[in-house]
């Protein structure tokens, strides 16, 4: 295997919650509990899971927007989470992010040109002004934005157009790695296809590596190379996309797959039992999924399964999968 472009080793993220002034307890929310992923150059690595599973936290930690409580983050074999800001800056130009909501991620008082020039000016300050302009124009063309948009403000654009601008901003420093956090879920159905196609084209043209965070498995099936299914801050299953759809190994993955509404209908006919994420402040001692799992036995409630490899190449954290 080639050297991964991004690797996390035992990544943990804990958030201290506000304490009651009379209480001695210091509640801590475990958002990530030892996440190990290695993202290979050129792939689309998808992270799926319900809200609260830690998928966004993982993306933000890798980007350096959050400082991990424990563990390591490596970019091309180089540890970046402890790196000082001066040395990290050029690496930040190599890693960029597209956020979920283009109505919130663009500065409403900054025109498109300034929005796009900012990452270059900040991360690569030696770039001459003429080159900045050139780069902005070329990335606008590549993302299907009209050159005339440069002097306009975000409120003049529709959601799809804004997301194109946000993607252009992520690409203006010519990054190798892009974190896309639910980039299409705030958009209308007919626009989602446009943005997904754009991301596919850009990946082909620029050899991008994506970390694609989503809750929508049908998008993963279409778009992803590998997928990590997360639950309560842990990776439950990690597999090639084809494999996970053909042979889902973890009961939680199967639950997610069964929840996708089908155009043929019929899969909602049977009522489902309510289930929800356990409290991330006091996670269950054994397998975090055990309270919702139909296969759970005494061992699952007592002993946490570690991620282990199966014959078909899938990694799964479940006592019952083979």
């Amino acid at each position: 295997m080639t050297q991964p472009i991004i690797e996390t080793r035992g990544l943990e993220m804990r958030f201290a919650l506000p304490t009651h002034f009379l209480s001695r307890e210091k509640p801590v929310l475990h958002a990530l509990n030892g996440v190990d992923v290695a993202i290979q150059p050129g792939e689309t690595f998808c992270v799926v899971g319900e809200s609260g599973c830690g998928k966004t936290t993982l993306g933000r930690a890798i980007m350096g927007l959050l400082t991990p409580s424990a563990g390591e983050i490596l970019f091309r074999g180089q540890r970046i989470d402890t790196m000082d800001e001066k040395r990290r800056k050029p690496i930040r130009a190599e890693m960029q992010m597209v956020f979920q909501n283009p109505y919130a991620s663009l500065n409403p008082r900054r025109n498109v040109f300034d929005t796009l020039a900012e990452p270059i000016r900040h991360l690569l300050p030696d770039t001459p002004a003429a080159e900045v302009r050139e780069q902005v124009e070329s990335v606008l063309a590549a993302t299907g934005c009209d050159p005339s948009w440069q002097r306009r403000l975000p409120h003049e654009f529709s959601g799809g157009q804004r997301q194109r601008i946000a993607i252009a901003r992520a690409l203006v420093t010519n990054p190798a790695f892009v974190v896309a956090d639910e980039p299409i879920s705030a958009l209308d159905v007919s626009i989602q296809a446009q943005i997904l196609n754009l991301l596919t084209d850009l990946q082909a043209d620029r050899g991008l590596t994506y970390l694609f965070i989503t809750h929508d498995l049908s998008v993963v099936e279409h778009f992803g190379t590998r997928v990590a299914v997360m639950y309560l801050g842990r990776v439950m299953e990690l597999a090639q996309v084809e494999t996970i759809f053909a042979q889902p190994k973890h009961p939680y993955t199967r639950l997610l797959l069964e929840a996708i509404p089908k155009l043929d209908g019929g899969s909602f006919d049977k009522p489902r039992t309510p289930g929800e994420l356990p409290d991330p402040v006091n996670p269950p001692p054994g397998c975090p999924f055990a309270p919702r799992c139909s296969l759970a036995d005494a061992r699952c409630h007592a002993e946490r399964p570690e991620l282990r490899g199966l014959e078909n190449g899938t990694q799964v954290a479940c006592h019952h999968s083979a």
Binding site: S51, S190, Q192, A193, H215, L255, A259, P261, F268, P274
Partner: protein, 320 residues
């Protein structure tokens, strides 16, 4: 006679001092008892507006400028405030998108449920409480008795939406209007809530108008679909037929654009452009600037809804 019949409904909002723009431009709809209808469209297509207009809930400065909403032969738009309150939340219930906004955060679940019941029925506190617990059990809320004293913030999103459904069912309505009831929820919770709504509608013979942008959900839950675009219904028909053989180019485009309808790694079909805002509608068919089959007729005249589709050049559909 149909249970609910919406005839040529127009909703208008003022623009400037004299002018008006129409958010709904003449929508017709019929619903029989126990029938489940999906209303599908992008944001701004007018689907929520339709739900609000049916219950005469359009807030000023908007107004219903034309049309009738006949419910058992009675025009809901002409009823007095007092009379329509006897129907709203009683014979027609609504479920909204975000349960945290629907529920009152400073009242317990029980208080809110009993209040709803007492607004429409003469019932003792004890009987009301009993009925509420029964409904909470019906929507599969664990330990229903103790949840009566819980506040909305103590419940998860999925449980909150179950409470909202339980409230909607309290008065044994004939029709439930659900406006994106699962958009704020996770896929697994969505599957739970939608299968619950489906089961309850079937068991109690309740009609449903499900407003959503998700064709998958509509395909799972409804019997008929209405596709809306820029304030008009562009296609209508049985769910199976529309999903397998759409006739309007817009419906067909929406279906082709779904990732599950494209091969792995293939480019998705994409509808160019975006829906025009109601303030800047093109002449003729509102979809023609995005349509690959548009001709001169489409650019000058609005196609009427004929045989379930509002298009001058419809696709062949199932019969071919």
């Amino acid at each position: 006679m149909a249970m609910l019949e919406v005839q040529d409904l127009h909703v208008a909002f003022p623009r400037g001092k004299r002018d008006e723009v129409e958010a709904l431009r003449g929508v017709n709809l019929q619903l029989e008892k126990g029938e489940r209808l999906g209303v599908v469209g992008e944001s701004g297509a007018g689907k929520s507006m339709l739900a609000f207009a049916i219950l005469n809930l359009i807030a000023a400065p908007g107004r219903v400028s034309q049309g009738r909403v006949m419910f058992h032969g009675q025009d809901l738009l002409k009823l007095s405030d007092r009379k329509i309150r006897g129907i709203r939340g009683n014979r027609i219930s609504m479920i909204f998108q975000d349960p945290m906004v629907t529920l009152n955060p400073v009242l317990t679940i029980g208080t809110q449920m009993i209040e709803t019941l007492k607004a429409h029925r003469r019932i003792s506190d004890r009987d009301a409480r009993k009925l509420c617990i029964e409904r909470l059990k019906q929507v599969a809320i664990p330990s229903a008795e103790s949840r009566m004293d819980a506040y909305p913030h103590e419940l998860s999103g999925g449980l909150r939406q179950r409470v909202v459904i339980a409230i909607a069912l309290l008065t044994d309505p004939e029709l439930i209007i659900a406006d994106e009831p699962t958009t704020a929820l996770d896929v697994t919770i969505q599957a739970e809530i939608m299968s619950l709504i489906l089961k309850l509608c079937r068991e109690n013979d309740v009609a449903l108008i499900l407003i959503t942008h998700d064709l998958g959900v509509v395909a799972e839950v409804t019997e008929r679909i209405m596709i809306m675009y820029a304030g008009l219904c562009v296609e209508e028909g049985p769910t199976k037929q529309i999903i397998t053989a759409p006739r309007h180019p817009y419906t067909s485009g929406l279906l082709k654009a779904l990732p599950q309808n494209a091969g792995r790694g293939q480019r998705l079909y994409q509808i160019p452009g975006s829906m025009p805002p109601i303030t800047a509608l093109p002449r003729g068919c509102a979809y023609h600037p995005r349509c690959e089959f548009a001709d001169n007729g489409c650019r000058t005249r609005i196609p009427p809804l004929q045989g379930g589709v509002a298009c001058f050049n419809p696709l062949k559909g199932a019969s071919s």
